[in-house]
Symmetry: C2
């Protein structure tokens, strides 16, 4: 739940809603969709993993081949415009209109829970339960990833200590350690101090577990064999000759896979209205592809008529990557896309507000809304380029005036000529999303002419330029000399014929966070390119990326408590 959503005093808190919700045994929730009790590895009564044998069976049976609805958004304010809540609410809405639908979303990371308030399991009457568990240890996937990531790091330094037979260049190690905690002092460290007994001192750091390449690997693997192949080819360092050293070279494939054998299985829980929701995997949406696991998408699509899934940030990031990377790897095609917009975000663009001061956006300002359309329009056009029908979802907040809302509807219907619907799933649950769901059914039944935007065998520069000019609206691309070197080296290593994963600010369509709307007349600056060989793409950095956040001066943690009866407070 975002702070703005909390201003509506008529709605109880997410935690209160979650506590008062009636839930069923997860086996009963999924049974109508064809998952049997024996298909589940239960974690209590409300959480389960789907066994890999069941996934094999589902693949063979393919009783359904659900239409794929992607949820993305316009360039958001820092609070987000409600993509997850829309995704969860849409799943509920589809089932209310008797369309057999499943939801697939990312699983939250533990670290951020203690920082700035805000759960990551939807909100209000469109959330997934048990939200408390989902936001804490859940089924242990993040912990398994942290362990597997750090085992690889340990084995690497252990190899260096015990003779360094592979001639690993100590200053060219590309595998930091991982922690699922917003612990900024671990960003840059020196390790291996204490003399000869502990090994070779070197500079290193920690990243958040969600930023680990293993997370991207887990979210793209289609089974155990693929998981192992992907782990095996992860580049963890380079040797003195500049040749890659892989996780397999240091013997880490098998033990890392063992640590991930349960994490690979998709988790299933229920929404507040009893719609089954897959909540599995949560890669970063800048240095990785930012969508839940492919294996969850696949299972859900085979069990339902509609799969509603979400991509991180705006259409320039999560959706672009979903179309160009995930759909390519998973051989999927979206049948419709819904673009979440909000009056708040439109005003934020219209007022060209930077830095953001969201309290200032509460007053009615139809002019600003209209000026903000250029951002919305750019996102609609981005999505249409992929040949997929678009429905704008106006996530209505309590403070939005009718005049503001009408302006948006009118603009979409009459100027953009695109489908549009208001959504009030936060306060009304599935019922608040019925209009949107009906529009999406209509869109998904229309012709989709989906195609990725570039060929993987195009040159690295050509792929970057396609995304920069056609999605971001840049005039062109400028490469720093390091990036030029990277391109040459990666091309020589044969790593050029893979999709690219752009790392760019989500605060703007451009690479400058302060630029709102649809910036024109600018050039994208590329600083560095490195391979995520396990994931199977190249990461293109356009700025420094913060892979380990910190806590604010007054962290959310400070207000949390566990009570004698086992209930918690301050968690959301």
């Amino acid at each position: 739940m975002t702070a703005a959503e909390k201003t509506d005093q008529s709605i109880p808190t997410d935690y209160e809603i979650a506590q008062s919700a009636e839930t069923s045994h997860i086996a009963d929730v999924v049974e109508p969709f064809g998952l049997l009790r024996d298909d589940l590895q239960l974690f209590g009564e409300h959480k389960a993993k789907v066994k890999l044998e069941a996934i094999e069976r589902i693949r063979e049976e393919r009783t359904a081949d659900g239409k794929l609805v992607l949820v993305t958004g316009m360039t958001p304010t820092p609070l987000g415009e409600g993509k997850t809540v829309t995704t969860v609410g849409l799943g509920q809405a589809f089932n209310q209109i008797d369309k057999n639908a499943l939801v697939a979303i990312r699983e939250p990371s533990l670290g951020p829970v203690f920082g700035v308030k805000g759960g990551a399991a939807g909100g209000g009457y469109s959330q997934v339960l048990p939200m408390e568990d989902i936001n804490l240890h859940f089924t242990g996937d993040l912990h398994a990833l942290t362990s597997a990531h750090n085992l690889i790091a340990t084995m690497l330094d252990n190899h260096i200590k015990h003779g360094n037979e592979l001639d690993i260049a100590v200053n060219w190690v590309n595998w930091p350690r991982a922690i699922d905690m917003n612990d900024r002092v671990l960003r840059e460290t020196v390790i291996g101090l204490g003399g000869d007994v502990t090994g070779v001192p070197r500079q290193d750091g920690f990243i958040l577990t969600a930023a680990s390449e293993l997370m991207a690997v887990l979210c793209l693997a289609d089974g155990i064999d693929d998981l192992k192949e992907r782990i095996a080819r992860i580049i963890v360092a380079y040797d003195d000759d500049g040749d890659p050293i892989t996780a397999d070279d240091i013997g880490a494939t098998g033990p890392a896979a063992i640590l991930l054998k349960d994490a690979l299985k998709p988790n299933v829980v229920q929404t507040i209205e009893g719609t089954p929701a897959f909540v599995h995997g949560g890669p970063f949406a800048n240095i990785a592809h930012g969508t839940n696991s492919l294996i969850a998408d696949e299972v859900a699509a085979h069990l339902s008529d509609y799969l509603i899934t979400e991509a991180g940030f705006g259409s320039d990031l999560g959706a672009e990557k979903f179309m160009n990377i995930v759909c390519r790897f998973g051989e999927m095609e979206p049948d419709a896309v819904t673009l979440v917009a909000s009056v708040r975000a439109l005003k934020y663009h219209g007022q060209e507000m930077w830095p953001p001061d969201l309290d200032e956006l509460e007053a009615e300002d139809v002019d600003a809304v209209e000026k903000g359309f250029e951002n919305l329009d750019a996102h609609v056009s981005n999505l249409q380029q992929f040949g997929v029908p678009v429905v704008v979802a106006l996530n209505r907040f309590p403070d939005d005036s009718d005049a503001e809302v009408d302006a948006v509807i009118d603009h979409c219907e009459n100027e953009l000529e695109v489908r549009v619907a208001e959504s009030t799933v936060f306060s009304d649950g599935g019922e608040g999303g019925i209009d949107l769901a009906e529009n999406l059914v209509d869109a998904a039944e229309s012709e989709s002419t989906f195609e990725p935007l570039y060929d993987v065998d195009a040159s690295i520069k050509s792929k970057i330029e396609t995304v920069a000019t056609e999605i971001y609206g840049a005039d062109g691309v400028e490469y720093h000399s390091d990036a030029e070197d990277d391109i040459e080296r990666l091309t020589n290593l044969g790593f050029d014929e893979v999709p690219i994963c752009m790392s760019k600010t989500f605060h703007s369509l451009s690479d400058d966070a302060s630029q709102k709307g649809a910036p024109e007349g600018w050039t994208l600056e590329v600083n560095e390119i490195y391979p995520s060989a396990g994931a199977g793409f190249l990461v293109v950095l356009t700025a420094d990326v913060l892979t380990l956040p910190g806590l604010p001066a007054e962290p959310a943690a400070a207000e949390m408590d566990l009570h004698s009866d086992g209930s918690v407070s301050g968690l959301f």
Copy 2:
């Protein structure tokens, strides 16, 4: 399973035995002991946590008040002499002779699994299942502890960064970070590099999660309120005036407790013969008390006629702490103790072997066995000092000759006049422990005059001297000047009237690892004393303690693999 045990080719591997074992649903396993299905929080079919509400009910009902049998050992070889296997086997043996018995043991830590081979869930036909899960992520307790530990560390550094209102002395932080991985390069680090954005650089390090004071806290807490009180008083640093800064001072009590709310609930699994086994908590046996959780002991004792539980290392460490710390806190009294001995360990002492070369101990050597009795005798006498009846358990290995075994039996019966029994539970399961079990029943029904060895309100020095002279056999104690300062400071702070937790090598009864048998004419050297205020004891260091092990040159991890069908190899 230890390497020596593996030399018996007639017995399949632990993993093979585990795979071929017939297991029941955990709810069916515990039902005869009075635990209902609703009392359990299930993790699949074979693992469960006991809900806190159920524990309350069991406390009120107290349908049984089982006799407490402690398993300890003589000074072991580095491979261990089979305490866990004896504990598990004894549980099975008691049930074979129709004594209603439960087992309580420590839960393994993930890190060491990848280092030197050797599971920590018993072995052969006396192991707990599913061994694979138990040795990996199990029910997530270790991960929860790692997270809670590191949350406290994060909040501490975050406090320092954001103004340091509490005047925390940056060079007097006593809360390293924790990791459940044998990653030696993290022992000594510099953190907080990268300039003003990341905070204050300082020297720090990591410890293994099992060495965290939080682990000791979890293993001593009797419920949520006690858990919170203990977390609250943990000393994480000192301020510029030398006054303690607690976890509560930095606001970490509530969020750390939230992270531990499930970890607090005891885990229950089954042995290979279907005896329920509580596997919960695993604190270090040097800087902490080294026994499974008190809450598991309490629940198990209330549900059975006999509770078989284990303490780490020899009688000088785990058992001394169990009697002087755990029994005091838990208001428990052991009814009998079994002291695990082996021909191998007796020869190791008799040959005064250091460093250990265990292959040399395979040949028959009755003389060495007899020379080794002085170590066994000292342990028997240690235990008898507490007023508890002792039964020596000779854990028979395949290579032991009859002459060697007879010498031990004869010595115990005729010279020590103590109960003794052979045990072959590794290869024979419960049946191999029936003689031992019958001796323990007999012992437990005899008079126990249990009393801890010292009063908690004695001075710090008096308590240390009692343990040093009466348990270790030292002539006296010598305090380094730092330790003298610590004693003065801790006495002034009012931390003197608590039990002491001695940290000493487990390789010898003395503080010198190379001294075998029962060393005489030596003085215990005390280097440092610090409070584990959350646990409620003072840690007395007699040497450097390795709180973060490393991997060997050929780690067990390198031989592990996950196969397409989900099975694992190389894990044990």
